[in-house]
């Protein structure tokens, strides 16, 4: 009797480990592929473009963004990325990197935020914001996320983000948590990080903006969230809308202590 039980247990182990093994080799192959790509990450090109845009005098006011306050004082870029989204007293709002850039572009340079909000991905001023976000993100490479939660509005945004994350809806009755609420899930060969907790260094919130090799596009966090909603068959959230910022706060606070690898490279 006892031997039979043991035998069954052994079978159980075998059945559980076989698919896991097969999965590991494909994951390893993807890891290798990513490593090969790492050396020539085209995100560098967007980083260069962003750095240039930061100091270039542009817009109706003919000013640069060098006086832009990203949360650590006017013009301070290093370390700003890992503390966003945060509350800004001048706008009275919690803002993520991209919505903050819209504020700076409009107040300093006189560029109408509508150009970005109503724009298309990868085109015109919206592409410029993505390049700026890439460069600003890269300036905090290797630094741990440490979003402030001292302001009441920041805590409200966290709570709103959390609720959005678990809110099911759309034609497929999906929520963010459907894919990102458990460990060990994947979509095709892409591992899906569990974002309701801390996914670790360089994963999830700590990996965007990233360059997508498959379509040759540079994607910001706004683009990432927008496409997640598209895949859930939700209506598209507005660019830099409060909903996307709230999700950013939720993901960013959850990632506390994890190191940023921005700009990352994705398949």
């Amino acid at each position: 009797m006892q031997a039979r039980a043991l035998c069954l247990a052994a079978l159980g182990v075998l059945a559980a480990s076989t698919p896991a093994l097969a999965q590991k080799t494909s994951t390893q192959a993807i890891e290798e592929y990513r490593e090969m790509l790492q050396d020539g990450n085209p995100a560098d090109l967007y980083e260069m473009k962003g750095a240039e845009l930061w100091t270039k005098k542009r817009g109706p006011k003919g000013a640069s963004l060098e006086k832009c306050d990203l949360g650590k004082g006017p013009g301070v870029v290093k370390g700003a990325f890992v503390e966003l989204p945060r509350y800004f007293a001048d706008t009275g709002k919690v803002q993520d990197l991209e919505s903050r850039l819209l504020t700076c572009m409009s107040t300093l340079q006189g560029i109408d935020p509508k150009e970005v909000i109503d724009g298309k991905w990868g085109k015109g001023e919206r592409a410029n914001v993505t390049a700026l976000a890439t460069w600003i993100g890269s300036e905090s490479k290797g630094m741990p996320f440490n979003l402030p939660q001292s302001n009441a509005k920041e805590r409200v945004m966290y709570e709103v983000g959390k609720r959005l994350f678990f809110m099911r809806g759309g034609s497929h009755d999906f929520s963010c948590a459907s894919c990102h609420g458990e460990d060990g899930k994947r979509i095709r060969l892409q591992d899906l990080p569990r974002l309701s907790g801390n996914p670790g260094d360089g994963v999830g919130f700590a990996a965007w903006p990233a360059y997508r090799v498959s379509n040759g596009q540079m994607w910001s966090m706004q683009h990432r969230l927008n496409d997640c909603y598209r895949q859930q068959r939700f209506p598209e959230p507005g660019y830099a809308s409060d909903a996307t910022v709230a999700l950013g706060v939720y993901l960013g606070v959850n990632a506390k202590g994890s190191k940023s690898i921005v700009p990352a490279i994705k398949r």
Binding site: G40, D44, L45, M48, K49, G216
Partner: protein
Amino acid sequence: MADPMRIRAQASGDKTTVRVLMAHEMESGQRKDSSGKLIPAWHITDVTASLNGKQVFSCEWGPAVSKNPFLQFVIKGGKAGDKVSVSWKDNKGDSRTDEATVS
């Protein structure tokens, strides 16, 4: 005008490794747009590189090279402070030259 390239050149022993990242659409001419019309080919056709003004590398590219291509090659010789310059030309007649210093 085309966006700048990113060039890194590193000398080690009697060799210099050059790594170049180019910003280019590299449209193959095989794809169709949303209305079903063929998107015309637009890609780099010629790449050359020189070390201190002397040509050391040249190649012809076609539509099979990826968007934002990455190129790596090794030059015999070269030392820190030397100038490596890389140029490309595309089938629309656009071109771009960038220079880097060997480190």
